[in-house]
């Protein structure tokens, strides 16, 4: 297993945000689905080591996150919900900066950048300022940035928030392709159900607790529902968004 989470608890003051979350993920496309306020972003901040859990264990690629955060970060790429690119710098400058944070030499970084941008169909815009890009392209640059250091795990927190339907579809298609090409573990966090397919490994979270985990189609069968929309409603009593 690439990511193992055991009995994870986290509180904001007295309010419990995560209540004993446990799951395990392997290579492939995994979706963490839940309504707003379910605890997805909190879980994401814990998985990236930004927050310290109240209790519990997170193991990524065999390393305990609390004990070996730096070793884990070498193999983890992260796309945050908030836009974190420097708008006044070009795509090249943004990506080179990120590569440097991972200790990658500029020559090697440029090689990686060209390869990833080609995969994401952005190679002609290398010297464009990020400010001049539309929302979809900015997201693709953020994904490219997360992949520069060739991670084994890619974590994406609501990566399609604020994008139109077409851009959303393109982004998710790109990430699915990359997941297959690079054979990595992707954790795609979302509250939008049309981003889930029947073959995806799905975790449904609500009110800080995992409601279900498994292949989407299997979960539908187990809960005797026809699709992910009905499954989501049955488990969370939220109608959900598409």
């Amino acid at each position: 297993m690439t990511i193992v989470v055991k009995q994870l608890y986290f509180n904001y003051g007295k309010k419990a945000a995560l209540k004993g979350v446990s799951f395990s993920l392997s290579a492939g496309f995994n979706v963490l689905l839940g309504p707003n306020g379910a605890g997805k972003s909190t879980l994401f901040s814990l998985l990236t080591g930004l927050y310290q859990p109240s209790s519990g264990e997170i193991i990524i690629n065999g390393y305990d996150l609390l004990k070996s955060k730096l070793a884990i970060m070498r193999n983890v790429g992260v796309v945050f919900q908030q836009a974190t690119l420097d708008l006044d710098l070009s795509i090249r400058q943004n990506l080179l900066y990120h590569a440097s944070l991972h200790g990658i030499a500029p020559n090697q970084a440029l090689h990686n950048i060209e390869r990833i941008l080609t995969q994401l169909k952005l190679q002609t815009r290398l010297d464009d300022k990020v400010r001049s890009l539309n929302g979809g392209h900015r997201r693709r640059v953020e994904i490219a940035r997360a992949l520069i250091h060739q991670p084994k795990v890619l974590l994406l927190d609501e990566a399609t928030v604020g994008l139109d339907t077409e851009s959303r579809a393109l982004i998710i298609e790109h990430v699915r392709d990359l997941c297959q090409q690079l054979d990595i573990c992707v954790l795609w966090t979302t509250h939008l159900m049309d981003e889930v397919t029947a073959q995806d490994q799905l975790i449904i979270i609500n009110e800080g607790e995992v409601q279900a985990q498994g292949v989407t189609s299997d979960l539908c069968q187990t809960h005797q529902v026809e699709n992910v929309y009905q499954l989501y409603y049955a488990l969370t009593h939220h109608k959900g968004l598409v």
Binding site: V76, Q93, H102, G103, A105
Partner: protein, 269 residues
Amino acid sequence: MNIYQYFYCFTGIVKREILRFFQQRSRLLSALVRPLLWLVVFAAGFRAALGVAIMEPYGTYITYQQYITPGLCCMIVLFNGMQSSLSMVYDREMGSMKVLLMSPLPRPFLLLSKLIATALLSLLQVYLFLLLARLVDVDIDMAGYFAAAPAVFLIAFFLGSLGLMLSNLIKQLENFAGVMNFVIFPMFFLSSALYPLWKMQEASLWLYWICDYNPFSYCVELLRFALYQQMNVTAFWVVFGSTIFASLFALFSFSPQRGSKVTAMKSKK
């Protein structure tokens, strides 16, 4: 991680800060206009009213412009250090700080690199200001320019660390504006930047004591002496000690959880 990886990371952070600085032309402009206004307008008006007697490190009578130049250099450094920490609070709230913290290199090293980058930017701004100051007859020996560089760097590192330390204590961006007013202006005005401390002593003893305990006064005096190729030993040790304290406190008390946790708690209410 090997030493080359640390080097690439350090140069990457420094390069980004410099690129960002030159992209934001208004920041460069305001960094220079503020002290130049003080030098040209304020000092011209006050030179007649405030004569400065012969004092160390000056060997003769000097103009008021010459007197306040080291203070204005320190003002540039103070503003740059605080602006940099303001951007850290902003980055922490907006999420860009998370990117920096996703690096597999130790957090204190990343923050130290950011502090050095800020200090180098301050150095650059101070030398641009000193160059422009020559136009209003603030002449300094070439050797003085060289001698001042380590002093400016040390002061910039201290004030950058102080800014980072403050940004660690501040939970939200809105609180920072108040702290700027309670830190920058008192630090600057209650120091030897604009008038010698013996003048302050004549006016008010308690104000003199406050100025005397203000580490910014020692920053100004360290630079004043360095520009004249002299070493103010007391000022050096005070600034050096303050730098060690502020930087260690800032580097090891930094918490990315602080701003984002508050934001998260707000959104959950």
